[in-house]
Symmetry: C2
Subunit: 420 residues, 2 copies
């Protein structure tokens, strides 16, 4: 590893740790003042931000990046204003730090208070969208954590400019600029150095495609909060209300197909398949959804493509749906636990008993009865915002909001208390 890069990243880590000690003890007003000043700066500096973004866009076009990638990379005045509005929203949310989670006095006489505290230093490793720079920094600041941001190299100028505005807002408010730091080099070894810095970084959150997340998870010595793919299912039980089923399935698939909580696989009970498939598939086709089915589905509707084994394991993020007929709720549960990504899965049923059985046995972060998987979202859950959706089981599962970016400590008071 390049020694200059190593010492640069080490210095970021050391400064972040020092800043985290200051952040952990700030009141909500002090943090909110920085957030509002950042929002002001974003709105004021639209010309500067779009100019820096133009440099990234020119390089991206010259490198022949795809139109989808270039769209994600683009900062428009509207997008900058929306980002600023998001920062103001974070400022209005309750401060999670300092909340008493539990308190008890023990027979030994000591009083134990379990208190929510920041995690410390969080590293975020992300891809094309520059708005992640501001979103992630806002959530980390509000939850009292210092953050080290490492964005995609294609967004280097945009991200650096956004991080600079955030740092100026910190300094204006007499807080350490190192509360929000940006890895200002495209050198890839900087990520390797970051992922080994256990002494300075407490948590790594990769945000992006599956290969990025896998690489981070395999390299990191620091705990990683993973946001893997969402291979989300809906199972239409034999007693489903057909109108509800069509409405919910259509919403889960087409309302926003490119996101992790969209449905990718539909399971239909064999007892209801002949009745529901004709109107349901007509609705999907009207919404331009390509259908791929198992042989039993094709027996009812020959105009679907063959679904392969690969289809059941694919997150399409597109207007494509794989459909399988199953015999009963237990086959549906076993299939979801085997092929799903433990993100969001739903059942449509009128039976409270079958619904409860499904909720109990499906091993996913969020499990639904008679609702669209699209509800898996920090905003819809009432968290006000989110860093993403954790597909891990440890620390945080499902939407990651401000509380999930904290840990706890035990504060214990005695009066010369000793253990006997």
């Amino acid at each position: 590893m390049n020694n200059d890069i190593l010492s640069y990243v080490t210095e970021l880590g050391r400064a972040a740790r020092a800043a985290s000690r200051v952040l952990a003890n700030l009141c909500a007003d002090a943090k909110n003042a920085v957030l509002n000043a950042t929002a002001d700066a974003l709105e004021r500096e639209i010309d500067y931000l779009t100019a820096e973004n133009t440099r990234d866009l020119a390089a991206a076009r010259a490198a022949g990046l795809s139109p989808a990638l270039i769209d994600r990379l683009t900062l428009t005045p509207e997008r900058i204003r929306a980002t600023a509005a998001g920062v103001r929203t974070v400022a209005t949310l309750p401060d999670p730090v300092g909340r008493v989670l539990d308190q008890r006095t023990r027979p030994s006489g000591i009083t134990i208070t379990k208190v929510r505290v920041p995690i410390g230093v969080i590293a975020i490793i992300y891809e094309a969208r520059p708005n992640v720079t501001i979103d992630a920094a806002s959530l980390c600041l509000k939850s009292g954590n210092a953050v080290i941001l490492r964005g995609g190299s294609e967004a280097l100028h945009s991200n650096a400019a956004l991080a600079r505005l955030f740092q100026q807002a910190l300094v204006q408010n007499k807080l350490p600029a190192a509360a929000v730091q940006f890895v200002d080099t495209p050198d890839r070894t900087a990520v390797d150095a970051l992922l080994r810095m256990e002494q300075y970084v407490d948590l790594v959150i990769p945000r992006g495609g599956k290969s990025l997340i896998r690489k981070v998870a395999e390299t990191s010595r620091i705990p990683v909060l993973k946001h893997y793919e969402g291979i989300c299912h809906t199972y239409i039980a034999k007693d489903a209300d057909i109108d509800k089923a069509i409405k919910v399935c259509l919403n889960a698939k087409v309302q926003r197909p490119g996101v992790c909580n969209a449905m990718e696989t539909l399971l239909i009970d064999s007892a209801i398949a002949p009745r529901i498939i004709p109107p349901l598939f007509a609705a999907f086709r009207a919404a331009h959804v390509e259908l791929r089915g198992c042989p039993r589905v094709k027996a009812i509707d020959p105009n679907v493509r063959d679904a392969t084994e690969e289809d059941w394991r694919t997150e399409y993020l597109d207007l494509i749906l794989s459909v399988k007929i199953v015999d009963g709720v237990d086959e549906a549960i076993a299939f979801i636990n085997e092929y799903g990504s433990h993100h969001s899965d739903a059942i449509i049923t009128e039976s409270p008993h079958i619904g409860a059985h499904f909720l109990q046995h499906v091993d996913s972060a969020t499990v639904y009865v008679n609702a669209s998987t699209r509800f898996t979202d920090g905003g819809e859950f009432g968290m006000g915002c989110e860093m993403g959706i954790s597909t891990d089981k440890l620390h945080a599962r499902g939407p990651v909001g401000l509380e999930e970016l904290t840990t706890y400590k035990y504060m214990i008071r005695g009066d010369g208390s000793i253990r006997t």
Copy 2:
């Protein structure tokens, strides 16, 4: 990697995952029946267990293992009975699974219930003490998790015998034996295979020395809950009550010096040092504690050894104490945050203000005012038992009991609810 070992460990993982689906849905009575049957079997099979243990002990003596290691390896009838009593205690504890942590109905009409559920499959990698086999299996079973146990090779026969009794109790109660599995080979590559089995193992808990934990943390692709060392401090503030300070410091150092929550470093405020050092050091010497001090300590008591930089970073686990004089609470806090292991640290003070400042700023799992660090323990905290003390900040911090061996999922009910 040896293919036989790989397929053996893979099969353990597959079976554990299948068993975990059964365990996750058991009522407390079913789990307690297994625990009580295991305790019965332990008491009934003392002769068998001590015979198997004798095989390990003979090999250990032939290999020239240290007396301390041989002591840890030894199963006596008393130790077996104590282990059985521990299992019965776990049976009496409340079942953490199924507890509703939060419930809310959102404006969209969905009702979100956050419910405690098991983690799934836990791998425990441990060293000499065979009782960990039973302790860890009991805690995992009660929290609804399947467990894969990998003990030290020197305890292979003892551990296998203990695991066999637990499996018999499972089978007697018509539950899958794979709920508790033991890696029955001393081949070291089995651990490497285990640590890469992300699809079957959800959490790894290493229990043992620092080098074992470091190796597991560096190798594992699966989240690791670390139980690193305890370099615990007590700081005697300028306004400390001298009698309380002596009582608490003596307890923290000598009541059980070989454990992670014992005090290793004592910080004394310069304003109280001349008054407290003579009686305090006399008390330590009467308790056979070797003292090592900074130059300012030596200026008051020349009969202490020099403390080196290395001493401030050492977990002695012995009757040795390093002592440093500091100027004020903030120097004490900075020293603890820099040199400590974020485990358990205490202040002795009569000032509620100084005490609160210390609790707030020391970045450790458990922070004390006027109490011994020795209280950091699942039993003392009212958890009834513990798997160990986490020095991680993610997922669980401090004592790890039944609740800390669980995660949560969101169960959501709608009525044809869609996102708009």
